[in-house]
């Protein structure tokens, strides 16, 4: 997991991102184009620096271990944001870059500019709206699992050397019966490809490095985790 988050820009999107991710990273650092928003960002409790698009990035390179750093490009203007993304990519080939896209046009441009992940604002909003209308129960449940403090959590468990599940068939794990968990998807650690949904009828022999995505009550997830560890020890 990455340790540092650099957020470029401090509009309302950046502000929401900063406050939401603060607990996930060791350090959150805000970079702003001018002084106007410095006060607000500082009063929100973040470290703030000024940058400009023609800047040298050596300061970042000295301070942060780039492979452990995520950059969030959230500048107001799409053109500036794309320029920022491409500047960061040119300087740091291993940095994980997340960029906001205001509209569909921006998505492709940001991809070409080298963003690892793009947050298309319009699409995210539109998807949520159509889900609320068409599948209210699904939306409510998934939304609660993902974002709210519901009892049911989603969790990813990476299989390590010596775990009891290694070498067992995913279907034979009986997660439902023994732990009251749902095994939603598996990422094959060897192939390093995308995850596969268990609902596809996928039968997989679990090996070291696989990631299991499970849904269930926090205590059940913890129990499952502990049992794996116990056998590990």
């Amino acid at each position: 997991m990455k340790k540092n988050a650099l957020i470029f820009g401090y509009n309302e999107y950046a502000r929401q991102i900063a406050s939401q991710i603060a607990s996930e990273y060791e350090r959150v650092h805000i970079f702003i184009l001018d002084e106007t928003l410095r006060h607000q960002a500082e009063s929100d409790g973040f470290r703030v620096s000024i940058f400009d698009l023609s800047d040298e990035w050596s300061e970042i390179e000295q301070e942060y271990h780039i492979e452990n750093t995520v950059a969030f490009c959230t500048l107001e203007d799409d053109a500036h944001n794309i320029f920022l993304t491409i500047s960061l990519r040119a300087e740091f080939s291993h940095m994980y870059i997340v960029a906001l896209a205001k509209d569909t046009e921006g998505i492709n441009k940001l991809k070409i500019a080298g963003a690892n992940r793009i947050l298309p604002i319009v699409q995210i909003t539109a998807n949520l709206i159509s889900e609320i209308l068409e599948k209210p129960v699904v939306t409510n449940v998934l939304h609660n699992i993902l974002y709210e403090d519901s009892d049911i959590k989603i969790s990813q468990i990476t299989v390590a050397e010596g775990d009891s599940v290694v070498g067992r068939n995913s279907h034979a794990l009986s997660l439902k019966e023994m732990y009251n968990l749902i095994l939603l998807a598996i990422v094959d650690g060897k192939l390093d490809t995308n995850f596969v949904f268990t609902a596809k009828g996928f039968n997989h022999t679990i090996s070291v490095g696989d990631v299991l995505v499970v849904i269930g009550l926090q205590e059940d997830i913890d129990r499952f985790n502990q049992e794996i560890k116990r056998s590990r020890g």
Binding site: T125, I129, V141, L142, K200, G201
Partner: protein, 522 residues
Amino acid sequence: MKPFARFMVKSAYVLNGSASYKAVKKFFYNLMENNSYRYKKYFDIVMVVLILSSVIILIREVKYESHDFLQFFNDYVISIIFLIEYLLRMWVYNDNSKIIIDRYEHDEFLQREFNPFKALKAIAYVKFQYMSSPSAIIDLFAIMPFFHELRLLRLFILFRVFKLFRYTNSIRHLLSVLTHKKHELLTLLMFAAIVVFVSGVLIYVMEANHPNSQINTLFEAFYWSLVTISTVGFGDLVPKTEGGQVVAMFIIISGIAVLSFSTSIIVSAFTERMDDIVENKLIENISALKTFYLICGYTKTAQQVAAKLRRHGKNIVVLDRDVERVKLATSHRLKAVIGDPGALASYAKLGIDFKEQVRAVLCLEYDDVSNVYAALTLRSMDKEVMLLSLLIHQHNRKKLLLAGVNEVIYAQELVGMVAKEFSGMPVAFEAIHALRSEQSDVLTEEIVIDEYICSQYHDVGDLDTEYYRIILMGISPVNGGAFLFNPDAHERLHNGDILLIIGSNVLIKEFKRDLHVKKRYR
């Protein structure tokens, strides 16, 4: 009060209070007058068929001996049907009991004696208003049977043909276009009439006494000038004298002028009214929709939402005050109307039934003021309809909620939550994201347990989800209780429960089909 007056007032109150009487009257009103009523078109088709059959019967009679049955059908059956229709139209035109009650209560209030004849006079006046309308006159003449003994009466067939106007929208549109240019057309007609009259008289004066002349009577003179001014020019009558030919030149030039003017008037009337006609047609189409989502403000978010909902086969109506955005929506094959989402008049124009037709209203402007205003307008019209609105500035959230919005969507917060989730658990997030975006073959689905399913499948074990490789994530209970996660096989199913399942698209379809068709015994 005299017995007659008392009887009249009493019956008026009885009728006014009778739900069944009103329902019947409403039914006939819808059937004959309400264009958005689903069954009106069938009534119209039946009437058009009757009219056409009576025209065919008349045409057949010209050369062949009339058939007794056809004669009877034409003279009596069709006429009686038309008579009934005429009377029904007169009945639904207004509410007589209301006139009587109003007059009675008015008199009571002023402590005067109720005069039944005054009430009858008022009723007669209203009914006369109906009877003197052009379409009612046509209807009346169309009732007349045309007995074949009286050849002239056959002209009444014309009224039956005119009656077609009532039942075909396109002819009504054409007439409304022409009435729009009534003044211009009337002026032109007057001009043409004067030219025909003057040249008719002139040609008669020039030609009538000439030995070789073909135009010998005043009737022939007017006939010739009408044929010439219309640029038809049969050539059966031709002027022989020099004076007659001069008149001919004059009338030919006038004819070209009349023809070109009338063409240009009609064409310009159409171009001017085309937008109205298209909009009327659109509004008619919207009224005919069973259910739809109403989008106020065709912003970029709205475009994506509309595209997604359309993929699910849902109807969408767009209301936007910006002409360009309405054009864009139309080009995206949506039903889009120009109108201010914050004005009651826009919804009145659309004539939509919020309770029956509208699944939800989406206020998707990028401006909180517009969204709050539209939400308030909609809430003032309907208390129940689901309202969903975008929120642009966090501090306006409360205002939207006060305006009665059920779901507030704040994009900034949403993006923040998404950022958090994939920072913490990228794989889990990707999995859920893929499920929700419906881009992979696996998706989530809601299945409502209905009475039939409930009778066939008693508990979760009966559903046999494993056979379909479906994950039953949980049950949202009908009684509104908490979401039941990962239920075990003994959990009972209730009518109205909602199952939340995850599975591949094809297998979900199969599962749903089998649920509704049969219980699998193995």
